[in-house]
């Protein structure tokens, strides 16, 4: 899955779809990921998928966000989102 290039080029028109914990499974499957038997987020190739900002491993309970049009995930520390604003959005 490609990185969020579109969002970088246009920082006005994008949005987030909010979810609660019961919907995590569906959302993760939507982008082709899954949770391992031990509960950790894995990619299609069964590789660990950690928070792109702080590197914490992701479980159902601490998945904070998946970035627009990408496979970038952040944990539920709200501050990790500042990485997205810094790296991917134009000022």
């Amino acid at each position: 899955m490609k990185k969020s290039k579109d969002a970088k080029e246009d920082n006005i028109d994008f949005g987030f779809i909010s979810f609660d914990e019961e919907q995590v499974q569906e959302i993760v499957e939507k982008i082709g990921f899954h949770f391992s038997k031990s509960g950790y987020l894995r990619t299609k190739n069964n590789e660990s998928k950690n928070c792109d900002c702080c590197g914490h491993s992701i479980k159902k309970g601490n998945l904070g966000s998946i970035l627009p049009g990408s496979d970038i995930v952040y944990c539920d520390n709200a501050i990790c989102y500042t990485e997205y604003m810094d790296k991917y959005l134009k000022l």
């Binding site: 994008f14 949005g15 609660d20 904070g64 966000s65 049009g69 709200a78 501050i79 500042t82 604003m85």
Partner: protein, 280 residues
């Protein structure tokens, strides 16, 4: 800009007819108790909960299209507000963020985004969200998070550091040199800022005196501000004033009280008189 305009702008105008039918047919259509947020860049926010299955399908359809276009992601419900806050803050303080982008270390820059967001929530009276964000920030940046917040809250990013950076730019150096020099200067000030003391919850009277001593015993430092926050710090501030009034060679220059999110705040400005000053 409303949802229809947003969808048109995204090239998803074909969804409007479906949306219109659903809106017209549903008496329950409302924008509360939400599950979707579209276009949350600080200028505009649309939240929508599909009240029935038909509309849920519609919403899923919108999601799919937005996601495929790379303009929509997913966020856990309780994190929506902080994200909207960050977007709004960034839009509001664009000039400041542009000024410091890549001229301070990225970890400080990110703490700066978080700090201005916290300040924004504080200024709007949302103490719960600001407090949660502050806790998250200290968890993420335990060493310097509070420092950066203090710099932002005390107006140093718009004043002191803005001028420091301005001086370097004025010297006409190349951007690479400006970045390199200012990054170093900023890093040093994060380690130790000589012109202010931010009294944290565990600081005692003696701790503050020690901090004043560290600063004023350095020859070139002739002024500093002390910031107190919380009603429980009022008495401590009075004790510091008493100390200042009784110590030879320093005097109280200003004494301001104000509130942040209904919380008592006090700022004392102290000045050193070179001729009379005796080490503390």
């Amino acid at each position: 800009m409303g949802l229809p305009d947003t969808l048109k702008k995204l090239g998803l105008g074909d969804l409007l007819n479906i949306l219109k039918i659903n809106v017209d047919n549903s008496k329950n259509f409302h924008f509360k108790d939400t599950t979707i947020n579209i276009n949350i860049t600080g200028r505009d926010q649309i939240e929508y909960t599909p009240p029935n299955t038909v509309e849920y399908e519609l919403v899923r359809n919108i999601h799919e299209k937005l996601y495929k276009k790379g303009v929509s992601g997913f966020v856990r419900k309780d994190l929506v507000m902080p994200r909207i806050g960050m977007m709004a803050t960034r839009a509001k303080n664009k000039e400041i963020f542009k000024k410091y982008k890549e001229r301070i270390d990225e970890k400080y820059y990110r703490a700066m985004i978080a700090s201005y967001t916290i300040i924004n929530f504080e200024n709007n009276g949302d103490y719960t969200t600001s407090n949660e964000l502050f806790t998250d920030m200290v968890r993420k940046f335990p060493i310097f998070g509070r420092h950066i917040y203090n710099f932002c809250r005390s107006g140093l990013m718009e004043g002191f550091f803005w001028n420091k950076l301005g001086d370097i730019i004025y010297q006409g150096a190349e951007e690479d040199i400006i970045r390199e020099n200012f990054k170093k200067i900023f890093e040093d000030y994060v380690d130790f800022y000589p012109h202010a003391i931010w009294v944290n919850p565990i600081m005692s009277f003696q701790d503050i005196i020690n901090e004043i001593a560290i600063r004023f015993n350095i020859n070139e430092i002739i002024w500093l501000d002390i910031y107190f926050r919380g009603k429980d710090k009022e008495e401590l501030a009075d004790c510091i004033i008493e100390f200042i009034e009784n110590h030879e060679g320093i005097h109280l220059d200003s004494n301001e009280t104000y509130t942040i999110c209904n919380s008592f705040c006090r700022k004392l400005g102290i000045r050193k008189d070179f001729n009379k000053f005796q080490n503390i």
